[in-house]
Amino acid sequence: MQTKKIVNDGNRTVDEMLEGILAAHPRHLKSAAGSPRSIIARDGPRQGKVGLVIGGGSGHEPTFLGFVGKGLADAAAIGNVFASPPPDPILECAKAASGGAGVLFMYGNYAGDVMNFDMAAEMAAMDDIEARTVLTTDDVASAPRDQRQNRRGVAGNFFIFKAAGAACDRMLSFDQCERIARKANDHTFTMGVALSPCSLPQTRRPNFEIGPDEMEIGMGIHGEPGIARGKLKTADEITDEMLDKILDEMAPAHGDKVAVLVNSLGSTPLMELYIMNRRVKRRLDDIGVSIHATWVGNYCTSLEMAGASVTLMHLDAELQTMLDHPCDCAMFRAG
């Protein structure tokens, strides 16, 4: 049976979405001339500033293009649904974002994205733009601790991009921006749970099967199977299972500060996210970890998948400053 979606033509979903987004956010966003899949901040790139280019497949909105704006990313390259953009739109983003001080490429660690962004970096070098890459690898469920470099980038992108974007906006050097971006990634931990599948607009078929009473812990944001499937548990039990793994790796000391993101994978409502956040707060209170800031909502989705993820960023003074730095994007504002 086909899933129900409000679309015109399954093959045109990304371009029609972009048209709608540009119509909604003309003050913040434009597309690069001749490259409609390169979304540029109207008020971001400037001379002497390190440029920040993010990007990846569509279907995760507001990731990636919602985080394009002053104080955060200068440009986002947009791929087909769940597919990396090809090198050309990435290159156009790099050109638009370049202020002569280097460009950071930041995106989730997926084989396709790495190949396309690396090809774009080689092309940018021919235009005398130095691009450096910082991959996000926050999904603790996607590889063991000693293989952090193999992990996927998921909702924690939000914190990692935010910190890097602030460093760039504060006109720090290329080396400093890269260092802060890497530190932000190292300090960010995400774990997700999926309850029901999503479906691609072109196939309108659920992209995995899951029983009516089941959940999948650790599922990726493209519906990649997770690490374990089990019976659906209560909000507190699910949140505990995520936090146990996150806190075990993060190992915060009494008195440390974190930022919290409770994110919907698409169709899980705010009501359920806040029930999870209640548990997050209690658990962190219990171990004497203080919450500097909390975000709850749709930050990195997987089309209409039901489920949620919890992300914690372990803050130090520098990362806290970067999170607090103002930004003004199409779908996110801070400060």
């Binding site: 497949g57 649904v81 769940f82 953009p85 997926y110 396309n116 996927r152 493209h222 519906g223």
Partner: protein, 212 residues
């Protein structure tokens, strides 16, 4: 004496586009088991874009190298994803392997085939046994080259390549993914054929049908 010209190569890409389109749903289903269920879509988009781009070429004025480079660029820009850079690199390396030739003898076709397989391996950095399209492409190219070196015709050599690709794809069922999206699954990837290896068999099958 085999002589493959630009028009033959265009027909080969048309044949691949038809074969992939017919196989799209199966490839998506295979990908859904261990990945993100879009492999058939990406391959369909890519070879559809190649077909359209080649249709606007003046074949009489185009050498095989230029046709293969056009295929590479149109595939890459339509797809992105993983298959975009992998197949685009395959076609570009193939283009380089036959540079300067107006028509291809059977040895040139074998060289083209080998360059494509090597390009895929170089771009994705996968080894045999890591449950990727390399498990179909590399044995296929090697088997075709060995057959050709032992005096077989192009048709027989490509048939040997196709058989090796089929065996390679079948063997991915017993492999634990070490590259690509499914590599995070660990042992849960066992028992399922790699969708990239499965589509490689479809591509190679269409190449054999068209060139052999």
């Amino acid at each position: 004496m085999t002589s493959i010209d630009t028009a033959d190569l265009k027909r080969m890409f048309d044949e691949i586009a038809v074969a992939i389109e017919a196989d799209k749903d199966r490839l998506c289903q295979l990908d859904g088991l261990i990945g993100d269920a879009d492999h058939g879509i990406a391959m369909g988009l890519g070879f559809g874009a190649v077909r359209d781009a080649l249709a606007s070429l003046d074949l009489a004025a185009t050498e095989p190298t230029a046709l293969l480079n056009t295929a590479a660029k149109s595939f890459l820009n339509a797809v992105g994803a993983s298959s975009g850079p992998l197949y685009a690199t395959a076609f570009m390396r193939g283009a380089a392997a036959v540079k300067g030739k107006a028509t291809l003898a059977s040895a040139d076709v074998i060289a083209l085939f080998q360059a494509m397989a090597q390009g895929i391996q170089d771009r994705g950095k996968a080894e045999i046994g890591e449950k990727t399209m390399v498990d179909a492409w590399l044995p296929a190219a090697e088997a075709a080259a060995v057959a050709h070196a032992s005096g077989k015709t192009l048709s027989e050599s490509l048939a040997a390549g196709l058989e090796a690709a089929e065996r390679g794809a079948e063997a991915t069922k017993d492999m634990i993914a070490a590259k690509g999206r499914s590599s995070r699954l660990g042992e849960r990837s066992l028992g399922h054929m790699d969708p990239g290896a499965a589509s490689a068999v479809t591509v190679i099958g269409a190449m054999r049908k068209s060139l052999g």
